[in-house]
């Protein structure tokens, strides 16, 4: 883009945006212009999972050193924040929230054990995830390493809600 014009630009704030539910400007925070406005934005609503787990996230990031009887450290804030992001992304209304398990070195894990599946998701850091699934009905195991694309993991989680017994009967299993 070329030279800018020389006319001064007055301060603008958004028109009536507070009345729009779930509004959040995409540049909120990084734009210096938003700091000049005085309107309060409504935060993104969070899923039931994140609401339910917020306290547990707080517990895990506040663990004392040695919580495991050895040299365990609390879950790092960055790791927990990324895990919360992941929990939000994987949310399925009909399913229970994952169980949160701290690891001694400051990372953490999400676990589901239901519908004859074991799913364990190791959040080793931002964009550094290893997910493991054991299918107890078919006696099979899978492991995937994930950086940004959680589509396959989301399919694993969605399968926790599938009617597997009926599927097996239909398949003649």
């Amino acid at each position: 883009m070329g030279e800018s014009r020389m006319n001064a630009q007055p301060d603008f704030t958004t028109a009536f945006q507070d009345e729009i539910p779930n509004y959040r400007a995409i540049t909120d925070g990084i734009s210096s212009l938003s700091a000049r406005g005085t309107r309060v934005r409504v935060a993104h609503p969070r899923s039931a999972w994140v609401n339910e787990l917020e306290k547990q996230f707080d517990v895990l990031t506040s663990l004392r050193r040695g919580w495991d009887g050895y040299a365990g450290v609390p879950v790092s804030f960055t790791c927990a924040q990324f895990a919360a992001n992941l929990v939000e992304r994987l949310y399925v209304r009909s399913l229970p929230a994952p169980q949160l398990v701290p690891m001694p070195n400051g990372t953490m894990r999400l676990e589901w054990h239901m519908n004859e599946f074991d799913i364990e998701v190791d959040v080793l850091g931002p964009y550094d995830v290893v997910a493991y699934r054991s299918d107890l009905l078919n006696d099979s195991e899978d492991e995937i390493e994930i950086q940004t694309d959680f589509t396959e993991l989301a399919e694993w989680v969605a399968a926790l809600a599938a009617d597997r017994v009926q599927l097996q009967e239909v398949a003649g299993g």
Binding site: L60, W67, G69, A71, Q99, P102, E111, M114, E120
Partner: protein, 149 residues
């Protein structure tokens, strides 16, 4: 932990190697038609630092010092413990050695501390190693209402 991974010859194959079970490593499992409490496989994970392993205690060292192992390894935060034989650990292509904790600014001294290491540098135990530890583990101090796996 500055000790380089190694396998301690003084630890006999029959010696018990203890791993504490913290409350945060207990999970609910609804598979198999009933809801039950059990130990997460997270208990059998190693540190992701390539040269670090999985913390344990060596029972023989405690007995030699006249320390009650069950009382030493448990508290409200880690109410239970499991144990494997050194042979079971070695059968998984792992090593077990001494790694005493002393003069740490935060942690209490633990002269009975040891580590279970992989023979090669890696972020994790293999799936077979994790499952093998889980299958070999027996209660040393049982937590009521909690299953091993």
């Amino acid at each position: 932990m500055a000790v380089q991974p190694y396998d301690e010859a003084e630890i006999g194959d029959e010696d018990k190697i203890i791993r504490r079970v913290p409350v945060h490593h207990l999970v609910w499992d609804e598979n198999g038609g009933q809801r039950r409490r059990r130990i997460s496989s997270a208990l059998y994970a190693k540190s992701t630092e390539p040269q670090q392993g999985m913390s344990v205690e060596v029972e023989a060292l405690m007995l030699k010092d006249g320390v009650d192992p069950a009382g030493y390894v448990t508290s409200d935060e880690f109410p239970g413990a499991v144990a494997f034989s050194a042979a079971e650990i070695r059968a998984l292509d792992l090593m077990v050695g001494y790694d005493p904790i002393k003069d740490d600014p935060v942690l209490p001294d633990n002269p009975y501390h040891g580590e279970v290491w992989r023979k090669t540098e890696a972020r994790r135990f293999t799936g077979a190693q994790t499952n093998g530890l889980r299958d070999a583990a027996k209660w040393y101090v049982q937590i009521e209402g909690v299953e091993l796996k």
